[in-house]
Amino acid sequence: MYEETLVALTVVLPPLAGLACFAVNNRSFRRAVVVLTALLLVGSSIMIYISGGFSYEPGPSIGPIIEGAIFLLDAVLLVYFLFSGLKYGSFLVMGLTVLQLIPVLYFELVLKGASATPAILVDKLSIIMSLIISIVGSLILVYSLSYMDEHEEHLHLEKSNQNRFFFFMLLILGAMQGLVFSNNLYWLYFFWEVTTLCSYELIRHDRTEVAVKNSITALWMNLVGGVAFVAALFVGFYFSPNSISIETILSNAQSREMLVLLALLAFAAFTKSAQFPFNKWLQGAMVAPTPVSALLHSSTMVNAGIYLILRIAYAMSGTTLSYGVTLVGAFTFLATAYLALNERTSKGILAYSTIGNLGLIIVCAGINTSISYVAALTLLVFHSVSKGLLFLGAGVVENRVHTRMIEDWEGLLRRLPFTSIIMIIGMIAMFLPPFGMLIGKWVAIDAITTSPILSALPVIILVILGSAATSVYYIKWLGHLTVLPQDGVKLTQEKLPILYSLSMLSLLSLSLLMAVEASMVINNLVIPALPSDYILNARYLFTGGLLSVETGFGSFLTYPFWVVAVIIIIIGTYIARNKGGLVKGPYLGGENIEENPSIFHTTADREAKVEVSELFLDHEVSSSQFLSISTIIATILLMIIFLTVIL
């Protein structure tokens, strides 16, 4: 009864709250409903964490009703996709939908294959996912209450569309929870398609031409994954006709049919996690209002793909398929890092960074050892929090400065100090010690180097080169954000709506707290979520002291690093205070003009303008060429993987 309530609260409550928001398009009502739902979500996911996991099978009276409802909703969903394809004249969408609709009808009505016991299975992996979805997702939801008000004010809408917006935002949270709790492969597929629907609707929310175009791209790319998933349903049915329980199916031996199933699911996961060659849709998704990007990138949608990969990875350990998965991830990590170097917009950089980091997680999942699993989950947990934080900050900046170009972010530290500091910490948290993402990357390097050496070498090269470019694009951006031009602008504290500061501060504290206690996060959250065969070995390797993260191959001094970093900042500030100094204009190779530092006197007293532009490597790495070449390579790679599985 207790479990039933928790599942109902996390999976069913958000869509219901969404419906309420949809029906009553009223600001105060919406605020009350969203905040209340957020609180209940966080509360119930913590309760699920405390419960430690359970399985749940709906009783004979309610079971058939749920199954019928899911089938009905799935059919309606697919028909809706069909109409969307028709409406925008996309034969691709229609074709891919038909390829799902007919098999699904056959599967349900003729084979009657869609039952599984237990229907709901909540294990430690689901719990981690659920915590991420509930906590990070809820904070983003609360943030978007303020964001959408500003957004619509900026667009001068006559009638608010926020009811529609919050319906899909809430729906995707519920669908994600359902996705990670389902043990029925068909249910998992259903929730998978619901997240596709939500992303499609949220991306086209503003109904501009670009938004519609990009939403169609997102739709067809995700539908490709959906078709693979439907194929996987049939293979799953072949294995266990009476109960398509994921747990049962994955415990089969590694036969060729089994590998086909795993390959299909991995393929579906690649589309959802926007791995090359399916990276385009997530890149296009940035036309949506920023909270949408925040939600899709950090706690939902792309994490669905990662969840699926992590769920199936253990079943494919030791196979060529597993190594293929690693290669796709590593290639994506490298390619996105170099593409991000030439990206001009804040959200574009963040999108590439997301795809790249997901690639790194997939690398670790493919390596398939206890230590690589730890790396994958650590990266996943820390990525959600840091990326959420970065998008929230980027959204505030966008609404205040009305530009996404990072070159226009100069002097932000004076104009928006609070948001700038959020962004700075968020960026540092993505790639520098002593933050969690770097700890994850550090464990990942240990994981790669301890895998069989000949297969490890190509992966390590891809990862090392990718990681170098990652540092470059983040430092470059960080440099822009911290520029203090002498334009006479005084330091002013920005006035932010309470929901902004509340959500950003909560996420910031979470990020810092988790980074300081990284060892605890790994030992208490990550390791229990490993496949049971790996836990013992991981416990043996990560004999973490309180002060550091130990892998058995190296030691990451978290606490000492924090102490040293704080001491360095204190001494640095003390010296700066004590020695001080007059702020002087930069050296310009001519005569500075005190009143106006943006021009100077050059030869013959002519006035010249000071211009400093950003580092872009357009001449060296042409983005469009690089993108098409990478897409071709990735497609070939995927084809090779499939051929090796089938042959």
């Binding site: 170098a468 540092s471 911290t482 190296g554 030691s555 640095g572 100094g581 002087k584």
Partner: protein
């Protein structure tokens, strides 16, 4: 607690304290040797120290309010990285800590919107991009070597120090790959793109342009520490005997000076290409060699 006061710990603490001084002395020796190679007398060996002391006392001018903190950050994190080396800690963590130090210098250079220092900062960023992958790959080759030699793979520097055979004998190519890394870190020709000690820098003082007085002194201290750190890392290749290790590091230091005085500056693209191609080729060849030896049982 007994471990805390052991001789080894004492040596490590002393090493950390003296790291900037060792680096400073090396800078003095560098100037002397370079002068001799150019048939000049050169300044006294202690000249860098006189310079820094004088800089510290100069009337302070800063380019932005963040600059002094970042300048100290460059020094502080370089020293922290040195401490990781002296205490035999994780090699990867050491490389990442150096990245934090580099970040402080680069962001400080960007900070004041000065054209010269900005371009210097960008080039420093590209320098970092060239040598960091090589450092990580070198650490990986050391990791594999420990695996082959002792049966236990590890990134811990302490384990390298405990080896009974010098690293150089099994990783000669990795050692050679450290030459371009050292050239970049010491800001020597042909890779002195971000700033140069010689008076032929087209970007005024490159990444250092906007530092003056005490902030320049701090950056100098950071640079010394970083050089001491890189040479200390190189000396690990003969960790069985401290003297030979130090001589090995000094030999590499001398090679870098000779190269500095024989080659003109290359542009940054050539820097990345050369460092990556040479570095990856050498270290990978060395790793393949390790595998071959393990397979053939030699």
């Amino acid at each position: 607690m007994a471990e805390l006061i052991s001789i080894n710990t004492l040596v490590s603490v002393l090493l950390v304290i003296f790291a900037p001084i060792i680096g400073g002395l090396l800078m003095g020796i560098d100037r002397k040797l370079t002068a001799r190679m150019q048939s000049r007398m050169g300044p006294p060996v202690l000249q860098p120290f006189y310079d820094v002391i004088k800089l510290w006392g100069k009337q302070p001018f800063i380019a932005s309010s963040l600059q002094p903190v970042l300048a100290f950050g460059y020094f502080g994190f370089s020293l922290a990285a040195f401490a990781l080396l002296a205490f035999g800690q994780d090699m990867l963590l050491l490389i990442f800590t150096v990245a934090v130090a580099d970040l402080c210098l680069i962001v400080a250079a960007f900070n004041s919107k000065s054209p010269y220092s900005n371009i210097g900062g960008k080039r420093e960023l590209l320098s970092m991009m060239s040598y960091e992958p090589i450092m990580i790959l070198a650490a990986v080759s050391i990791f594999y070597n420990l695996w082959a030699k002792t049966g236990y793979p590890s990134f811990m520097i302490q384990r390298v120090m405990d080896l009974s055979t010098p690293l150089l004998l099994s990783l000669p190519l990795t050692f050679l790959a450290m030459i371009p890394v050292l050239i970049i870190d010491m800001k020597k020709s042909p890779f002195d793109v971000s700033a140069s000690d010689h008076a032929h820098q087209e970007l005024v003082r490159g990444v250092y342009t906007e530092f003056s007085g005490y902030t320049l002194a701090l950056v100098e201290l950071g640079h010394w520490t970083k050089i001491a750190l890189m040479l200390g890392f190189v000396s690990l290749f003969w960790a069985t005997n401290f003297i030979i290790g130090a001589m090995l590091a000094f030999a590499l230091f001398f090679i870098v000076l000779v190269i500095d005085n024989s080659y003109p500056r290359l542009e940054w693209k050539s820097m990345i290409k050369t460092t990556w191609i040479v570095g990856f080729f050498l270290i990978l060849a060395n790793i393949v060699g390790l595998i071959a030896r393990a397979v053939l049982g030699i």
